[in-house]
Homo-oligomer: 192 residues x 2
């Protein structure tokens, strides 16, 4: 946080706190303390908690999208790219910074806060559907499978994998969910 200006530190602090504690669990005071900024600073740069949250969520959504896109454009066949996305290094115990907000009623009832979340999952499912369609055309995926339904199932495995990792207290649960899903796609087991 040292090379950042105050506005940027406020956004980053808010992202971290939303990830760790959700929207209800995050107070302006906690944000200010983590950012090393005072009350005045925060209310100068943002109109209030919702405004700051919107900036933070937007940033997290963009970052998630960029990281996913990197996996999908990596080396290998379309199916291998899907596997790479699922197996990508993740801090499974922390959960998904975007998906977790889905549980927060105050976030979901505010159209401004909800929009980037909706858009993220819509994009991700679409992108995965694209790759799975190519995989099917390559003959790497069962011809009888619906790419869109399969994509939705895989996004769910990722999100649910986070839930299981937190429930069991172990990132291994995430990995097992992913490997279980990949085995169903007939992808050979990975290294770990």
């Amino acid at each position: 946080m040292y090379g950042m200006d105050t506005r940027e530190r406020l956004i980053q602090s808010t992202r971290e706190l939303l990830w760790e504690r959700g929207y209800v669990g995050t107070s302006p005071k906690a944000i200010q303390e983590r950012a090393g900024a005072g009350q005045g600073s925060m209310y100068h740069h943002f109109r209030g908690k919702p405004d700051l949250a919107r900036a933070a969520i937007d940033r997290s959504a963009t970052e998630l999208r960029d990281r996913a896109q990197a996996a999908f454009t990596g080396p290998g066949t379309a199916l291998e790219q899907v596997a790479a996305y699922l197996r990508r290094e993740r801090d499974a115990l922390k959960g998904c910074p975007v998906g977790r907000l889905t549980q927060d009623p105050d976030v979901m009832k505010d159209p401004e806060l909800r929009e980037p979340i909706e858009r993220t999952f819509s994009w991700l499912t679409g992108r995965l559907t694209e790759s799975l369609t190519r995989a099917r055309d390559d003959g790497d995926l069962g011809a009888g499978l619906d790419p869109a339904a399969t994509a939705t199932a895989l996004v769910a495995v990722v999100q649910g994998g986070y839930v299981l990792a937190r429930a069991t207290g172990s990132a291994a649960a995430y990995a097992q969910a992913v490997e279980g899903a990949l085995a169903l796609l007939a992808v050979r087991p990975g290294e770990d």
Copy 2:
């Protein structure tokens, strides 16, 4: 809530609020109002918010387990029972009353509150592994599949299906995730 005594109404109100708003988002005052009970009543029957939450979470965990068990002991082959569990009527937009607590740091750092959650997912994954093992013995499931990993993937699909339903604002996302997963298990599409 009309045939219940005060203690029971407090537990039910807490269950609902934990489901809708999580632990941080649920205040003793809101619980009392929904239960139609005063401060004094609540603190007479429970030592405080964590004590009441423990009773509520225990109840939700037990109920989840009983409902799952009903699907697993219904008619049909082991694989059909698994499909019945996944397709069971659910209020997908409300999410999982147990899984959602996994996101709440104040719940997860308290061993008393965490225990029923951990136990629920451990039991569910184990129960599903059992059914999938039988399905494999029946020849209904690929011999090369690991029942435990497959079970973990399916529990993740359910939990992630809830996330997607909330993110998109439509229960259809849950159904699509489940049908996508069942297709990978080579289960024929359902009625809806």
